[in-house]
């Protein structure tokens, strides 16, 4: 395998890992606040649709992004209503949200564009163009490093850089700010937060709002950057992979980066090679696509580094009597 190939696979890894990363961080905020979120997939999907639709109509990718975020937040709010306000089952709510998203996007898409649920192709300003970082051209000639800088680091959509910046930002918010302290606390023991005079409901709503924003960016990235328009079910299980990555990352931001990039790499490699031959071993493509899920089950089984979720996760908070 040549150096070029490695760089190109890693380049693909970054592109494919970014939506996972954004969705994973979204899940991280939500679950750190004690709200299980299996609706990442659905939120990404509505965002992918509405961002593409608005970007197509306005010709402006940034307006698309706003629409994507707004629609994802509406779904996040439904989840909040069910799981925070009405103390319903968070998992059931997530399942419903995923179904609702896959149905409503096609329904509205067909109504608006009459293209069977997809949006017209986006071009020009309706898509996020790749950003060339400074000196990318100039450094191109430098052996190895130039290639890495030009191909791997430079030349991605602005949303990719946003995604990567979200990692330190998340870490900082979570561990260095008042909001982060309270957020982590409410996911572990909401009663502690409540008795300390901080509103559990407000904290959890803000957490799922952040999750909505991040899923919105993730969905927008899918339809307005990675692809050029919305396609039915275009998230294709990425929300679930992000969920798997979240467990794999043990609900920590830097680990989330690692996990999502690992899963992105798996995706990139399985795209490139239908089968991988390692000596006598033939690894079929289907196995590669199942690896994130298998790894997550192994982690969950606790044989390798047990993942302990936030203690209050999944339980609606009811005041003790």
């Amino acid at each position: 395998m040549s150096f070029d190939t490695i760089v190109s696979i890693l380049d693909s890894t970054i592109r494919l890992g970014t939506p996972l990363l954004l969705a994973c961080l979204a899940g991280l905020f939500s679950e750190r606040s004690g709200i299980f979120d299996i609706g990442l997939e659905g939120k990404m999907l509505v965002a992918a649709f509405f961002s593409a639709a608005v970007a197509y109509v306005t010709g402006n990718a940034w307006l698309g992004l706003l629409a994507g975020i707004a629609s994802s937040m509406v779904f996040a709010f439904i989840h909040g209503l069910a799981s925070i306000t009405f103390r319903g089952n968070q998992l059931i709510s997530g399942v419903a949200i995923n179904m609702l998203a896959s149905g409503i996007t096609v329904l509205i898409g067909q109504h608006w564009f009459h293209l069977g649920g997809i949006t017209p192709a986006l071009s020009g300003g309706a898509r996020f163009q790749d950003v060339a970082l400074p000196f990318a051209q100039a450094l191109k000639g430098v052996p190895y490093l130039g290639l890495v800088y030009d191909q791997l680091i430079s030349g991605h959509s602005v949303l990719v850089y946003v995604g990567f910046l979200c990692v330190p930002a998340t870490w900082w918010v979570l561990f260095k700010t008042r909001f982060g302290l309270r957020l982590r606390a409410v996911g572990e023991n909401p009663a502690a937060v409540d008795t300390a005079g901080v509103s559990v409901v407000a904290l959890r709503y803000s957490a799922i709002a952040i999750a909505g924003i991040l899923c919105g960016i993730a969905g927008t990235y899918l339809s307005c950057s990675l692809a050029a328009g919305f396609g039915r079910e275009m998230t294709a299980g990425r929300g679930y992979i992000a969920l798997a990555a979240l467990i794999f990352a043990k609900w920590r931001p830097w680990y989330a980066l690692g996990a999502t990039m690992l899963f992105g790499l798996l995706d990139a490699v399985s795209n490139r090679y239908q089968t991988i031959d390692i000596g006598m071993l033939h690894i079929p493509n289907q196995f590669m696509s199942a690896v994130p899920f298998i790894l997550t089950v192994v982690i969950l089984a606790g044989f390798v580094g047990k993942a302990i979720p936030p203690r209050a996760g999944g339980e609606p908070y009811v005041k003790e009597r």
Partner: protein, 364 residues
Amino acid sequence: MDRLPTWADAILVPVLSIVIAFAISAIVILGIGENPINAMGIMISGGLGSTYGWGYTLYYATNFMFTGLAVAVAFHATLFNIGGDGQAQLGGLGVAMAALYIPWPNWWLALFGASAAAALFGAAWAAIPAWLQAKRGSHIVITTIMFNFIGSALLNYLLVNVFRPVGSMDPATANFPKATTLPNLSSILGLVGIPFSNQTPANVTFLIALLACLLVWLLIWHTRFGFALRAFGKSEPAARYAGISPVKITMYAMLISGALAGLMSINNVMGESGRLVLNSSEGAGFIGIAVALMGRSHPLGILLASILFGFLYQGGAELAMWTTIPPQLILVIQALVILFTGALDNMVRMPVEAVFHRLGKRRG
């Protein structure tokens, strides 16, 4: 606190939830520029207006009864089996292997053998998440989700590389031998003189599903195991106090759940397509969640909810065929039903409780 009377809890609240879900669906239909009353008309005439429509409605309902019962059995043990879809697909693998590799002399022996294989494979696919939950405390919701994906990747591999007949481009198994063809509902009803369309895939499995409803009802409310299952579901510490093994209950509940989900494939794989195709379950495992929620995890409720969803599916397919409304409308209705009967239950329940409280006060 005030409690609702049983009838209100079992009937009024779910019916209200469904009414709300349907009202919102009607608004959605209006929103996409169609007439909900027309749409409803097409659905009713297409789903219930002929024995043909009923045939498909019952065919779908059969699938949902199995997956609904699967979810319900696990629910009674407070286990949320979200992996019904994967278990159903693996069940399909069992059916396919039984039908293809064993030379059955007649359909009912084949049915017997294939049912056993379907249940076994479905249960096996539930066994690992169950064991991980029971022994290692891994969250069963997450593991069953993961197993859905792993299962579909596995089937994808097997259908493409192992079971695809030489020369075929379809990722599907060969057609099952003639001897395994199940009698359809029309020939069964014909025996008792009821004319029924023979163009539908509704088949003898529907009767098995009815039997499954009865057996699950007996199991849950009339056997020792069912008693232990419910006790464990209501309070794990109390169950342990009573000497009920959480590991055993978790395992058995999930095995039964997986077996029921797997049994669904008798209907679609053996009864309908006569071969195993990709994604044979078509999301029926997820509809099982809606069905179980709506039916309050009671077999009778599940039967009714399954027929409702069967009707929605058949009506929706007709709708897609005769109008420009995409069949995804059904997904939306399904999602709303799950949302209102499941996650937003309290939103409906609290006002109802308030009304009953006030009525109770006035009377008292």
